[in-house]
């Protein structure tokens, strides 16, 4: 059974349709890159999969691990192993990163029927995870993302991912605004977390990130549809020829092609 099956997914914000029939299948162990120009709907796809109530799903279905994902509240999705690394991580002044991470970790443990852990045990776990994303332990005492630089925010997203160990991670433009060193650290973190039983969807505008996180499949999104799918070479071709190369053509065969991993 595939981990994720998206069929004919349509969604809008207010009156504006953004996703117009997305088909995508993701199996365990795979990395999929979703690329596309600005406004193509790639971030919306990420938000819809995480359950952001600001987006209204108007058609299609999403099956996650055999279950209807669209019926699940955002927190239930997270507890079931879905993780969205935000393009714009939210600042929450007043709530410490340590408290936030432990609360999230314990909520997910509770959902799995595991015991909650105390702050001391959690500190041990954190040491290892912080090292993975090369973060200073001082940031645990700081408020969630508050006053963090762009790079720190993105690393904090990957830190959360490392702590929560998702089965399906969705990285929404995690590379935007990162210098090459930060990009490498973030990508290393993602690669270390890769396992045969989990999957990753990398949403990005640029091919650059895919030098570090090498995808099994690349999909090109435009106007809320997947126009072209292929292997990792597709990203290089896009880099070379630009998005116009895909978007100016007709979306022939998009449906079938998008089921690359099926």
């Amino acid at each position: 059974m595939p981990l994720l099956v998206i069929e004919g997914l349509e969604a809008r914000v207010g009156d504006k349709p953004i996703l117009n029939g997305i088909n995508l299948t993701v199996n365990r162990g795979e990395i999929h890159a979703v690329m596309g120009p600005n406004g193509s709907g790639k971030s919306t796809l990420a938000q819809v999969l995480a359950g952001n109530p600001a987006y209204e799903v108007t058609g299609g279905s999403v099956t996650y691990d055999g279950k209807d994902l669209l019926e699940m509240d955002p927190e239930v999705r997270a507890q079931s192993g879905i993780f969205l690394a935000f393009q714009y991580p939210v600042e929450i002044p007043g709530v410490s990163n340590a408290y936030f991470l432990r609360a999230a970790y314990n909520e997910i443990r509770k959902a799995r029927g595991e015991e909650e852990i105390d702050p001391l045990e959690f500190a041990d776990i954190m040491d290892e995870k912080l090292a993975m994303v090369d973060m200073n332990p001082d940031m645990l005492a700081r408020s969630v993302n508050s006053g963090f630089s762009g790079g720190e925010k993105k690393r904090n997203e990957i830190l959360q991912m490392a702590v929560l160990e998702p089965r399906l991670a969705i990285l929404d433009e995690t590379d935007s605004g990162l210098d090459i060193d930060a990009l490498r650290i973030v990508a290393d973190g993602v690669n270390k977390l890769r396992r045969p039983d989990n999957a990753t969807i990398v949403v990005t505008h640029y091919q650059r990130l895919l030098n570090y996180i090498v995808p099994d499949y690349v999909h090109v999104l435009a106007n809320g549809r997947i126009l072209k799918s292929g292997g990792k070479d597709l990203a290089l071709e896009l880099e070379d020829k630009g998005y116009d190369w895909v978007t100016s053509g007709s979306p022939v065969g998009a449906g079938a092609g998008a089921r690359a991993g099926a």
């Binding site: 509240d73 002044p93 709530v95 909520e107 408020s143």
Partner: protein, 438 residues
Amino acid sequence: MTAFPMTDSAVESYVAAFDELSSSDSSPSWVQSMRRAAFERFAALGFPTTKNEDWHFTSTSPIADQEFVLLDAPSGDVRREELEPFTFGAPGWYTMVFVNGRFAAELSNLGKLPKGVKLRDLASAWTAAPEVVDRVGKLSSYDVHAFTALNAAFMHDGAVVQIANGVELDRPIHLLFVTDATAAKGMMHPRNLIMVGKHAKATVIESYVSTSDAMYLTNAVTEVSLADGATLQHYKMQREGARAFHVSTTEANQARDSHYVSFSFAIGASLARSNVYTTLDGEGGGATLNGLFMLDGQQHSDHQTQIVHAKPNCFSRELYKGILDDRSHGVFNGKVYVHPIAQKTDGKQTNKTLLLSDTAHIDTKPQLEIFADDVKCTHGATIGQIDQTALFYLKSRGINESLARRLLTYAFAADVLETIEVDDIRLSLERMTLERFV
């Protein structure tokens, strides 16, 4: 029977109580004269109505419509362990406990007070320390404030705190006013006097709490004087019973280079009004007035502050935050007066409110009157709701809706809670904030 010029039928029920008190009053004659003058003033003023600008958003009729019995004799039965929820887990503090308005020595902890620190109960101090209590009534203004006048007419007990010049207190003083079920339909008029000597430093916590849900009225007045260079951290914890009425007025007078730091925390009572007034009466002083109120159900809680910059080169900082749920109603009115001579005044006032429901209501009114021309005064008020983006962010990490909302509610209050310098209080209030809206 005394005849007073009656203008208000609500005042009449207080006449009998005043006559009764007068007939058995053992306080010094100057106090008796002040009582009489204050009662006459109260009778003339009557309970404030919403036509009074200072009471525009708060109706006192739930209080005026009741006939309260004056609680002046010792009453009640409160056990030490019942006080535990209200002592912030800090048993070592110097503590004066008052039960239903009267000092309860057996529940108090006056331990070994450092040299230069005197704690007295007012009921004894009238006769035992007349030279100290002669300042009672000098720092508060019963001529304009009806509830202060009512307090002056009926005041009987309370705490008299004296910190001598140069003394830095090693731990807080806690004045814990507790009511129990026997306070039902009763009224209490606690009167406190806090005097901090030159360059002395102290922390005083005033708590108003209840072990029952009885309906009663607390009408407290606290007078504070800070001598040159003195610092007082003054916390007020209003955690009255759910059906209680609570009115309290703090009036502080600050000499040069003194610093008054007030934190007003209010979560209790059905109808509450808190007044914190301070006058910067010497150069180089500072006043910091912070507050946090959290309401739900049908609670009404009104907070009025007044900072008078009477001398040059003083600063004032004010941050009041309200969190309102259900059909509750909050009021904030922050007055800042800058006298013509008070040049180089530096004042900043902020009021922020978080509304957790569509039916909660806040009235906020900054009121700056500036008569000097070389000053820096700012004010700002915001009213908001839970940030949906932040809520989704927390939920996307597996945190359930209820905990996510509580965390964001806590986060809203975090900056004002961080100003609390007494760790035991800060931790306790942080927990109360997290648990308030479950």
